[in-house]
Symmetry: C2
């Protein structure tokens, strides 16, 4: 089993209203924030024989489902999985 | 100016319906996916004198606004910013 992390973010130049509102809210709370960008991250467990096969599959997932080619960029990285103990955090 | 990346994810044990639906959709497309988790990532530009000050501010932002202490875990990392050329991607 391989675990990949896929991040989907808006291409530069696209409006990010959620980021803008978040930046304003943080400034209202007193934080010296100039800009906020919001993106979505998927942690995906999949069957793959190698890291490169996992990345290839994740790229295909982005193109077929997860990313909108008109407005999104995406990045893929392979995460390390501790076999047998899939605990995260506390 | 410092740039931090904040990721908000569900604590283990909380239901992630968006992840479950995404996993099903990916399986329907033929991908050998066993589990998908969805999280949200914020890229935040802020005024801070040091990396540690930036991390401290980002932790406070999570506690005050971005993360729900009942159901979310969060992580913070400082990103490198190329001063003068804030280009991302192509």
């Amino acid at each position: 089993m391989k675990r990949v992390r896929v991040e989907i973010r808006l291409k530069p130049g696209h409006f990010d209203p959620e980021g803008d509102v978040t930046a304003k809210s943080l400034r209202d709370l007193g934080f010296a924030v100039s800009k906020v960008g919001v993106s979505k991250a998927y942690t995906i467990d999949l069957e793959a024989k190698s890291d490169s096969e996992a990345v290839e599959a994740a790229n295909a997932m982005c193109k077929k489902l997860l990313a909108n080619p008109t407005k999104d960029n995406f990045s893929v990285e392979v995460l390390k999985v501790e076999e047998g103990t899939h605990r995260e955090g506390k």
